[in-house]
Symmetry: none
Subunit: 207 residues, 4 copies
DNA sequence: AATGAATGAGCATTCATTCAT
DNA sequence: TATGAATGAATGCTCATTCAT
């Protein structure tokens, strides 16, 4: 809880965050004890509580920084893309690139998302991502490029495909991020482009 | 650990599984203690260990049963659907219906999926679901209805959209499952259908 | 706690005592639960408490019976031995024979001897054994066959050699009980005989 | 589990070992809970697990140290005794002296000896003691001072007399260790010295 | 006589956090 | 800044015993 950190202090702090993020991702937040972290770093237990208020707060900071970083990358990617569909494509592309080199943070976010204690924090980040994407989806609809539907749902569906393929392909199969990104983009874009709308085969029409 | 349960015992066992599933879903597995469960049920602690080997095994049984049940529902839904695309559609539909009435089990699965201890169990279930879906995806490709791509990736993308929309729409917004299912189906089908060839597999069924 | 047992009831009771004695000897009294016993016998838990007041009382009965039995064997052995030294010898012999065919009871006694809860019970048995032996030791001294020393200490030393060799030889080495008995007798008799006077108390008995 | 202890830490650790050894000896290992120990010392429960991996490991350390200490005393005693019989005598003497001032450790060893969980540990110590004694017994035989017999059995018999008299005399009667030691030495030495071998009165020669 | 179910105090162990140095 | 020591509530689990049937 010190107000100002020396540069050495800043390095220590970063070191703890990085190591903790790795361990949380590997073993799970609840299964990783503060002792595991300080022992793994070879420092005393006091160090931890010098830099972080609690284990809970440490994870919050890790998550917040990860979300900040991912958002920055996405914004950079779409910065000078005028076409709405293209923007979505490069955003997906950029997301995959970031995930591929920050796998542990991706895993950590997925863990936090289903943990009552941290869910709202992650959800806030997602809401921000959705809010970021919304203008482009709407612009696409206005331009007749994207099928008219609830833009929020569309945005969530894209998010779902992205994270699902990210987890399933990258984490479990070790496939090439570029290839998976390409498939995701193809799936999403053809899933949203304005074409005939398929009516849902609701079960009530069979019985 | 008893070999054979009386009918009263069977009821108790089921009661514990149901209550524990609810609590696990609500508070998280790690945050819910065995004491929470038995106190919530108003029984002694020994009761828990009369029926279950451990807290870990209880969750495994809950998950296994949930997966069995979901699979059963999906299989019933596609039982007499001849058309591949339609099969996928009704399977998605059935999944949403099941999820809507078993929200806690869905949340529990999502938790378990990111928990090292249980991930493999859930993943096995997913592999089964993918394996179940694969023949239909392949059939769709052979019939020229589905774009040629890695069928496994296609199947995973569908899974991702489904669970993502399930979570985001149902859990967080309380929207109508039928509507969300419809959007999911629209998104997925147009995401996978062969370009230029857009059959309306369900056109005969209009409300 | 029933007053009178049917013959079937008596068999059950004996069966439980035997099985429990084996398990107690094998795993230790504290490490063997009542459940282990009833499960091992394939009966319900109520059976145990029908026949025995408690786990504690069960062990007490097992021990008491074992001591009764051992004492009976010893008394029979010395019944018609007139010579004091020979009496001691045949008593040791008889003890080894009994121990060899009741290893588990020997182990159980050794356990109980160092367990605060049961030590006094076992000790009582030992006191009885010592008291039984004392007249012969004294007679031996009076006859000038045994060195004058505290007869109680002599008796305890014999007891110590016996149980020590019983444990170390039989339990851990699987040696022939007769041989070990022979060594024990040789050791004890020459350990107590009056110096310079070394009668061969069994010289009339040669194979 | 800490790597290096401060001097304060070392004192604490020793304190816990001493107190636990006393309590284990008095109440029994299984009857003494970790809570009993820390409450008795007036410290928090965590202290115990800061210094010891588990209750089991604590006892192992206590036993190992006791055995080390006893062995050291015995070796010192015989260090400059040239005569084999004399060596055995002073070793017995030294053992009684050590036991008299470490009664609780002696009781603890006897408990551990009959406890499946720790028996092998104690037995190892006994094997070492036997191995230590063996050369002297053999030397005595070679010098014609000790009756020819299995030297291992002889050694065990001495061990048996020693521990038996130690327990029965010291623990239960509060007699003078020197006197008991004298009796034990007399018993053992005359029990092993080379004299006429007494044939065993085998029971088969009576029937 | 016998069963399966239930009780609940008790146990070994963990761990986030605090503190003296 | 940093350390090792200490705290104590909480956890998963056991088990002797009781009870309704």
């Amino acid at each position: 809880m010190p107000q100002h950190l020396t540069s050495k202090g800043n390095r220590r702090r970063k070191q703890i965050m990085d190591y903790a993020a790795q361990e949380f991702a590997r073993n799970g937040y609840h299964q990783t004890s503060v002792s595991d972290i300080v022992n793994g770093l070879g420092v005393g237990k006091g160090v931890f509580y010098w830099y972080f208020e609690s284990k809970d707060m440490l994870l919050r900071e890790v998550l917040a920084e990860a979300q900040r970083d991912l958002r920055r990358v996405q914004r950079q990617a779409i910065a000078d893309e005028p076409d709405p569909l293209h923007r979505i494509a490069v955003a997906i592309q950029a997301s995959f690139a970031w995930l591929a080199s920050n796998l542990h943070l991706f895993l950590l976010m997925e863990q936090a998302k289903v943990d009552e204690q941290f869910a709202s924090l992650v959800r806030q980040g997602e809401e921000t991502a959705i809010a970021d994407a919304l203008p482009h989806v709407k612009a696409g609809m206005d331009a007749g490029l994207i099928r008219r539907d609830d833009p929020v749902v569309i945005a969530y569906a894209i998010l779902g495909v992205t994270s699902s393929l990210a987890r399933l392909m990258i984490v479990e199969r070790g496939e090439d991020p570029h290839k998976v990104a390409a498939t995701a983009i193809a799936f999403c874009l053809s899933g949203i482009t304005a074409k005939k709308v398929l009516p849902a085969p609701v079960s009530t029409c069979r019985k």
